[in-house]
Symmetry: C2
Subunit: 306 residues, 2 copies
């Protein structure tokens, strides 16, 4: 079992979560959501995406959101950028880190980014150069590290090739995205076996979806292998675009609860996180799938208890 230690949580609800919600959330509600999250103790918040507004209308207000949030010292505020134009906007908004998408599946890459894998690397080069000049680190996402909804199972050797290209391109962090939420611990083992000698588990971030209830089992397996950085989404917002009504990202509360009881420090205060989840649940007008939030967070505790 993994030794106790610190687990770093990146909150992706405002970007990956809201991008997959049908309700379009206004600027003030997004700002309030992120300000709640800033008080929850997460290490990083993926605030928005500087993609074309026509491409992702839910996140067309990225500049206004960045301008509106109250930044907590020590929290990293990041954003997705698809290309150099997006980087320029992100830098002007004062991001602390940028993230760029590629995939281990050609079909998924084409549908998700409107580019081939090769083209995502062509777009990445000026992003890395510009970010480096600005002193901003780059996270490289690899989607579909276990399964693609169009191509089926992904060979870990393919993930390794894409990871090697990201390292060559100069990204500071590689985020392995189990986009579809099908993985079990055996898949996580095979994934990291495939990266052996190239990339240590401790140098990766793992992005899990809880579509089939397996996310925490996969996180536990990853922690056993040495992974110490995970993405999660407040309340599990986001859903799964390939399975309407299904759960989406691993819920931040579920991950933080799990880490806490396993003896891993995350810095997350569950009561503060529940404030964020109650806010966004009310804005979205629906129950959220996060299990710990449903069990322990839907009724606010009194200030005295906190």
């Amino acid at each position: 079992m993994a030794e106790a230690g610190h687990i770093r949580i990146t909150e992706v609800g405002p970007r990956d979560g809201l991008q997959n919600e049908s309700v379009v959330v206004g600027i003030a509600d997004k700002v309030a959501f992120i300000d709640h999250l800033s008080r929850s103790g997460v290490a990083e918040i993926e605030v928005s995406s500087f993609v074309s507004p026509e491409w992702v209308p839910q996140l067309a207000d990225a500049e206004a959101v960045f301008a509106g949030i109250a930044r907590t010292p020590g929290v990293v505020y990041s954003a997705l950028v698809p290309n150099e134009r997006g980087l320029d906007r992100a830098l002007a908004a004062g991001v602390d880190k940028v993230a760029h998408f590629t995939a281990a599946s050609e079909a998924f890459c084409q549908r998700n980014t409107n580019a081939s894998i090769d083209e995502t690397f062509e777009r990445l080069a000026p992003v890395v150069a510009g970010a480096r000049a600005a002193g901003v680190p780059v996270r490289g996402y690899i989607s579909c590290v276990v399964m693609c909804p169009y191509e089926g199972p992904i060979d870990p050797a393919t993930v390794r090739v894409v990871a090697a290209r990201l390292l060559d391109a100069g990204v500071q962090e590689i985020d392995l995205g189990e986009t579809i939420g099908v993985a079990v611990p055996a898949d996580i083992q095979r994934l990291y076996d495939g990266l052996a000698g190239l990339l240590d588990p401790v140098d990766t971030t793992l992005h899990l979806h809880d579509t089939r209830g397996t996310a925490l089992a996969c996180a536990a397996a990853a922690m056993d292998l040495g992974v110490r950085s995970f993405d999660a989404s407040c309340g599990g917002i986001g859903g799964c675009p390939f399975a309407p009504g299904a759960a989406g990202n691993l819920a931040t509360g579920d991950l933080a609860y799990f880490c806490d009881r396993m003896g891993h420090a995350t810095g997350v205060d569950l009561d503060a996180l529940f404030d964020a989840a109650r806010h966004i649940s009310a804005v979205l007008g629906r129950d959220l799938p996060g299990r710990v939030f449903r069990a322990d967070g839907k009724i606010p505790t009194t200030p005295a208890r906190r």
Copy 2:
């Protein structure tokens, strides 16, 4: 990681699940539910409970349900019996196995069974004797093996004492109930460490609740320790009486999916299981929490695909 092998699944939805639903389900709908489950490939179905009808009105029709179901050869049809009177009714109904409750928490035992732990053993003795005379095995449930909602954390040494008493009493199977759904893999490790030398993991059944999303992570840890028998509830029906709106039992589909992808055979056909989940979801008039059912089971596949 656990070696591939066979995992035995006991479906507890008709008893533990329906007992915790507010909707009272009619006899015909229960029979149809169980008949669907019989076709799903689960090894055992806990059909009902022969407790006093005043105590659990949802299950007051145990005799009629047993009389109505179509039994599939090879499937074990079991029922809960609190005492000798319940055993007589269960034997008359033709049960294949009976189950009896005790707990590792005195406060929970009192509230759940209206008896002290000592008194549950007094009631158990004639149940074991009568079951043995009838050639029917007895499962002994221990509730609250990790946490009690009234007493808090439970010492694994306490579970060991209760397990030893159950073995002395002559039960054929011990079922460890993580009743509250708080456990993480470290708890499962401590639980089985506490049983070392008394009871091998392979000789236990583990009963998990997914209240906080940790059930499959705990199941994975248990499989690594050698556990090969688990309880689960179709679609995750049942809820949690201590957290309204929260998830209940580990969903059978989530467990069967997990086992299948981990290379463990369960005999469960997910499509047939989804038929059972769709039926009971319609009867209960609500969405079910089971993650795999939500992702893959809500829309029937065509017979051709099956």
